[in-house]
């Protein structure tokens, strides 16, 4: 790419920065610290270059570290960190439903002779998958984390289904790659966009409803929603220091939607 004009180089740099910046901000909303999210991003980038062939499979199969193992690992980690069994069940059901829906829309509805994207190719699968995952996760559990889990595992399941299709059709001349596009794979992009979309849906719904519900919620959760007073005078609105920041992030965590 040595002859790319400056405009294109700036374009590539800017889009990379924005993509990874957004990804970091999105992952930050999971059960990850700022640094943790940054570490995941680095793992995604470095892992993009590592393909792990799986031996002994009827159709050659390879799994990318950054495009599949890291996001799926993160999803599994989030599952293990889930508060209740109910949450885990909901997230897993959401993943299953997501997989079925994206297969149905991507491979059943948007298919056929019409070029370049089949009948009803109204939206690219790159955007379709996260939209489906976010909606399903929101209906199933109103959860950002579940949206991420649903998107990554859902796309992974759709890939596994495609692998079985290849095996069934004896397509031995191919190498099935899962997550081969690394940090830009649909598994990663779906996960990240799904977090943001679920957040957007949740916030929008809460606004429409006129603020988060507080009725019947544990006091400790509510403490995060309103500023603790503790005999202090009315606080000024400016965030003053890291204490304020911490309280803000705690409040975010206590968002009933997240759990």
């Amino acid at each position: 790419m040595d002859r790319f004009p400056l405009g294109l180089i700036v374009l590539i740099v800017v889009s990379l920065l924005i993509f990874f910046g957004i990804a970091q901000r999105a992952l930050d909303r999971m059960r990850l610290s700022d640094k943790g999210a940054l570490a995941v991003i680095l793992a995604l980038i470095v892992g993009s270059f590592i393909n792990i062939p799986i031996p002994g499979t009827p159709v050659p199969l390879e799994i990318n570290l950054g495009g599949a193992l890291v996001p799926v690992g993160l999803a599994v980690y989030l599952l293990t960190k889930a508060g209740t069994g109910k949450e885990v069940t909901r997230a897993l059901i959401a993943s299953g439903v997501t997989a079925v829906v994206i297969w149905f829309i991507g491979s059943r509805i948007m298919t056929g002779l019409p070029e370049p994207a089949g009948r009803f190719g109204f939206i690219d699968t790159l955007y379709l998958f996260p939209i489906v995952a976010a909606l399903v996760a929101y209906i199933a559990g109103r959860s950002r984390r579940s949206a991420f889990i649903g998107a990554t595992l859902g796309v992974l399941l759709a890939d596994i289904a495609n692998y079985f299709y290849l095996v069934q059709n004896n397509a031995t001349n191919t190498t099935k790659s899962i997550g081969g596009a690394g940090a830009f794979d649909s598994i990663v992009i779906s996960g990240i966009l799904a977090i943001l979309l679920a957040d957007l849906i949740g916030e929008a719904r809460e606004r429409l409803q006129g603020g988060p519900t507080s009725e019947g919620k544990p006091d400790a959760l509510l403490a995060g929603l309103r500023k603790p007073e503790f005999g202090r005078k009315k606080r000024d609105d400016k965030p003053r220091d890291d204490k304020e920041m911490r309280r803000k992030s705690e409040r975010e965590e206590a968002d009933p939607f997240e759990d």
Binding site: S15, G83, R108, A117, T174, A204, F230
Partner: protein
């Protein structure tokens, strides 16, 4: 609580109803009429559906193009440089509004003079191009017998024709990836994304995704170009791509140059809904080599002629470099499309980011607070240093600090209590 659940269910039902209504009003007109919902469940119908084309007409009613699927907002730049945008789609007819001549295409056309073409031919250098097929089952009915042969469609022969010509006629190194991405559906782009990325890791100058169209009329693409009976090409640029302007610019350059070398080999540029993995690279392009009713030979000859233009356009052998005395406008040569795409991306980020902030804080004041807090969040990485510095600045005993510490403890207590409750 029960009324709340009722409202939730009601709202979901309302949303479904809304989607249904919008779908009925919006989609039913924009898509093929011959769709039977049950066909979604049956394989045969989908893969062997006879292609139907929508004619795209201008305001006067004369046909300017044909495509399988057209939606409002799709754009066309034809080989003469006429620019159209689809404004209405009926059952088998779409109306496009003329946007006049595409100035940038015309400027490219003007820029590529005979001298520059000659210079380009004389000046040869190496470079790398990636070629792959997203729909690997695509085939040509007159030559292959049917329009879809899973895993080994006739499109491979067309791809090989392009690759061979590129390798023979120029010093271009071609990375040809024959990984199949079946079945033939939209998700194939998700699968071919991996192939495209694999090619990109070898640092190509451009990525070409070779397809064939699905319109039934072979005459639409059939032509005699440079004394060869060929099927012409259509370049497709995806609109659902933040880098679209850059890819569009590349397509313009491609069409302008290819048509200078072999007049009319590229029929038009079509900007359709989709992404087609063009976000991966500003020089990624999708080509439709004829349609399934053309013969494979026509398509093979067509892409071979197109191949003659590729190396130069990519700058591999290029007139893109400054030519002494060449004073004509040089649009896009410095990446004009690239800059516009940067603008798009930044604009979208600002718009969405702003909307997101507004929504999540609920007021403009909240947005300001969040933004001012953003800087602090980054200083978190330097947290300890920051604190040490602060301590150094403010010696102990300050009442303010003490009060802060007191508040901190109180906050901590609340948080701890909350954690205890939620941790189960």
């Amino acid at each position: 609580m029960k009324t709340k659940q009722f409202f939730i269910v009601l709202s979901i039902l309302m949303m479904f109803a809304g989607v249904g209504v919008v779908g009925y009003l919006g989609l039913s007109e924009a898509v093929l009429p011959a769709w039977n919902p049950a066909s979604v469940l049956s394989n045969d119908d989908v893969d062997h559906m006879v292609g139907k084309a929508i004619s795209i007409v201008d305001a006067k009613g004369s046909v300017i193009s044909q495509a399988c699927r057209v939606s409002v907002g799709d754009e066309i730049i034809n080989h003469k440089g006429d620019y159209y945008r689809v404004i209405k789609v009926d059952k088998n007819r779409a109306v496009a509004k003329s946007l006049g001549k595409d100035k940038e295409f015309l400027a490219w056309n003007e820029y590529l003079t005979d001298e520059r073409l000659a210079m380009a031919a004389a000046n040869r250098q190496g470079g790398t191009v990636g070629v792959y097929h997203t729909h690997t089952d695509e085939a040509y009915v007159p030559s292959d017998g049917k329009e879809s042969i899973p895993f080994k469609g006739g499109i491979y022969d067309v791809g090989r024709s392009l690759v061979n010509r590129l390798e023979q006629k120029s010093a271009t190194r071609v990375l040809y990836d024959e990984t199949p991405h079946d079945p033939h559906d939209n998700a194939a782009y998700q699968r071919s994304r991996r192939t495209a990325m694999k090619l990109m890791q070898q640092n190509p100058v451009a990525l070409i995704d070779v397809h064939r169209d699905g319109i039934p009329d072979p005459g639409y693409y059939r032509a005699t170009v440079s004394e060869n009976k060929v099927s012409q090409l259509r370049l497709v640029v995806g609109r659902q791509n933040p880098n679209m302007e850059a890819n569009k610019d590349f397509a313009r350059r491609m069409m302008a140059y290819a048509n200078k070398v072999h007049p009319n080999i590229v029929k038009e540029i079509f900007m359709a809904k989709g992404n087609y993995n063009q976000d991966l690279m500003p020089t990624a392009i999708l080509i439709e080599a004829g349609t399934h009713t053309n013969t494979k030979g026509e398509a093979e000859r067509g892409v071979a002629l197109f191949a003659d233009a590729v190396p130069v356009v990519l700058g591999i052998e290029g007139p893109q470099r400054q030519v002494p005395g060449g004073g004509i406008t040089q649009p896009g040569a410095d990446g004009g499309g690239g800059w516009r795409a940067v603008g798009w991306i930044l604009g979208l980020t600002l718009l969405l980011g702003g909307g997101f902030l507004f929504l999540s804080t609920g007021s403009l004041k909240g947005v300001a607070d969040r933004l001012s807090g953003l800087g602090k969040e980054f200083t978190n990485y330097l947290g300890p240093i920051h604190k040490i510095r602060q301590r150094a600045k403010k010696p102990g005993g300050d009442t303010k600090v003490k009060k802060k510490a007191c508040d901190n403890t109180a906050d901590r207590a609340v948080i701890d209590q909350r954690d205890e409750v939620t941790e189960d």
